[in-house]
Symmetry: C2
Subunit: 234 residues, 2 copies
Amino acid sequence: MIRVRVDDVTVRPTLRERKKQATREALQAAALRLALERGPDNVRVDDIAEAAGVSPRTYNNYFPSREQAIVAAVTAQRASRVAAAVVARPADVGLADAVIDAVVGQYTDSGEHAPEALLMIAASPALRTCYVDTVTTIEGPLADALSERCPDLDRLTVQVLAASVGAVARVALGQWLEAAHEAPSMQGFVVPSRSLPDLVRAALTPLGPALDASAARARHAGSGGDPAIDSPRG
Amino acid sequence: MIRVRVDDVTVRPTLRERKKQATREALQAAALRLALERGPDNVRVDDIAEAAGVSPRTYNNYFPSREQAIVAAVTAQRASRVAAAVVARPADVGLADAVIDAVVGQYTDSGEHAPEALLMIAASPALRTCYVDTVTTIEGPLADALSERCPDLDRLTVQVLAASVGAVARVALGQWLEAAHEAPSMQGFVVPSRSLPDLVRAALTPLGPALDASAARARHAGSGGDPAIDSPRG
DNA sequence: CCAAAAACATGCGTGCACGCAAGTTTGCGT
DNA sequence: ACGCAAACTTGCGTGCACGCATGTTTTTGG
């Protein structure tokens, strides 16, 4: 049974929320399946809506663009997983390592999804752009996770750090997809395609000093400072 | 006479390019003027096209969305100015200071544009989103500027740093616009609106260590091999 | 268990982005 | 000066995102 944790109690979602979730998942699944069958350009929103058993208008109540429905099947719940991974790291590892490992971890075991879906996404510019843009989804949850791990960090700083991590992940993902869809023998010196986890880690590494420096600064000014207004995402 | 500098020589743009630039500026100006006159929601693309003397279809050859034409009048050339400012800083100032000052500088003297335009943008969610998204434009030129300033930085690192700066500027701008469009008398503890340059500087500050650390690493690993790669943790 | 209220699904109409296939203008070599 | 090729503009058709009004389902308060 599906439950979500809210305010230290697990509550069963209402009927309404369960139905919405079911519809959403049906749309995601239908969109991905049809896109894989016919190719991304030969799928109309009407087809997806019909396959999911809802009206075309309802489709747009769930997804703001056609591409997002296709991509969502692959990226669902990634944001919350990253956030959970950040707070789950032991408290004695540095902030930079915690964040980097958490993000990298989400791209190592991505094998649950059909690799053909990633190939299709890499092949279509529109889907690639949409897929890359979904990484910004992690900013909010990641900011919350950073606040939970370093309560002395002010809100602006956590937003800044979360946005940076998101942007960097976006760059890494973009580069990887670009390398993945191009012919493997681009004239050149650069290695055509590193493994995605390695690329993500290499991309996030330059950000490490910023994360650790912020954490250190927060520890210092921590117990003396103003009781800042840090209500998580109100 | 308008000239652009390319490869150490100033060349006069061809007639074609001058016309394109004129059309683009006409569209920008018309879009901004009509939006200010009637309000952003009462301007159709046909109106803008007609006011600029081109067909509606041509409009979309220049701008991929209606909002971008309005916003472009305010944000034109910002990217290249930031990049130029970065490389123009004396070589003895640190990379972090150079970048932060360059970005902050672009938001201090923004007074050339009518402040009413910014108010309108702040008031319309669609325009706000579009305006905030334009800061990603600086990523490319900024990456080039970073490479020019620190030639030993590998391409991935400069892209990562540029993307982070862009993301942070986006956060700062978003917060400022959010604060600017809300009622000025939000009863509360938080200062309703810091000045934009101060906010941008405060937002970029946590990123400083990452910039300086990358510059230091590049300097010291200088003419060597594989930059910015950590051994994968254990 | 029932009625009022809130949330949601749906149909319709509008405006917009963009591919395509013309027609037109500009650039450039001879 | 001439003519060809490339680039640009334009009209048309299609698919999509979304506001609005309406009927339907779920929640809530008694």
